[in-house]
Symmetry: C2
Subunit: 229 residues, 2 copies
């Protein structure tokens, strides 16, 4: 019997890499999907390729989609990435690094690939604890997307297939994610989380993503091999 | 007072062009959005540009997104486009021209642009009568997308803005769309509907889209200026 296929969204960061490792352990044949969307931290795509290869993904597709054509985010324009913020400040409002409708777009494309591959499982590494402030990481968004997906597709109409959006990190803190990754044997050194890396890809240490990652490793009592030197 | 903005999906076909004309008449400042997605009938993009210009769209954006990377449709691969089918055959199953998750992807991108533009109205020319057989044209799909969109976005969270997906053609037959277009003063000669045009862009006359268009004009008692000569 062939393995059950799944499409796994993979940015190359800690969360999505852990999510992919989880899907692999659950016995899925994983089709990793990354997006070259005009993000300033494009170096994360190299991390995604390393992670997909190491974890034995059946395929890794980097899908080009230039969200700079719309603008509206610090990640895809010249708006500065916020630095040195405390947790309270991070969660007080949706940050400038929010990319309009990004997860909706990414999940829509994952849905298309899943339908072509004939599979009905999609994994995404969103988490709602240590809340990133992004509306499209919340469980109620994921549930609404899943419901819409089942009405959108040939598979849903012809075979009654139910698409399932798996969010194995949804209930975990950043420290919990670090611990899960450790248990799954993920090589942290392959991943990249920083929103505003230096020319060599070194993490800035000061953006929300760096700060949340550091906090997670500290609380888990684990050393981060990609910590800013 | 400035006009209320709307993002209008525009393929350049009869339906989406009528939908755009409708949105303009309703007093919206229209941002027309087309997709260069690897469709074999790429000539429709020239029609979209003509229609957007003639109807006075505030802007016309052709967004490149290569859905051939996934494959799985006669519109984006070498699978032949079905020809000479009767209506019963067309509606018996989802046709080979179905593009997996296409409207989900297109509406997601429309949502992103709407959010950046600060508007909450999106128009799409889907219709459920003279059913095309596409699952992502059905009213229940549109309703589910709308619900998901309100959970996906900054605007939904911060201002409680309600995204509205307008489907003014949803209740119209093809003949009804022709009559509405006539009433709106749409120049039919600008539009393009064929899935499998000849080298000069001439409609094949035999694909589902050509057949449904011809039926609509005949039933409305209107001559189609782009009828195959």
């Amino acid at each position: 019997m062939s393995l059950k296929k799944a499409v796994c969204l993979l940015s190359g960061g800690l969360d999505s890499s852990t999510c992919l490792a989880y899907a692999c352990r659950e016995g899925f044949e994983c089709y990793a999907l990354s997006f070259d969307y005009g993000q300033r931290h494009r170096v994360e795509l190299e991390a995604a390729a390393r992670v997909a290869a190491r974890l034995g993904a059946a395929r890794h597709l980097v899908f080009p989609i230039d969200l700079r054509l719309f603008g509206g985010s610090a990640l895809t324009s010249d708006t500065p990435v916020p630095k040195g913020r405390g947790l309270a400040e991070m969660t007080a409002a949706i940050p400038a690094t929010y990319v309009p409708a990004r997860n909706t777009i990414f999940l829509s494309l994952a849905l298309a690939w899943a339908e072509v591959l004939g599979c009905s499982d999609v994994f995404i590494g969103v988490n709602a604890i240590d809340y990133s402030g992004y509306p499209d990481c919340r469980p109620e968004f994921i549930a609404a997307f899943e419901q819409m997906a089942n009405l959108a597709t040939r598979a849903g109409v012809e075979t009654g297939a139910r698409f399932r959006i798996h969010t194995p990190l949804a209930g975990l803190s950043k420290a919990g994610i670090v611990k899960l990754a450790l248990e799954l044997g993920l090589d942290f050194g392959l991943t990249h989380s920083c929103y505003d890396p230096g020319p060599e890809g070194a993490p800035c240490g000061q953006c929300d993503s760096c700060i949340l990652r550091r906090k997670g490793f500290e609380e888990a009592g684990v050393a981060d091999p990609v910590e800013r030197r």
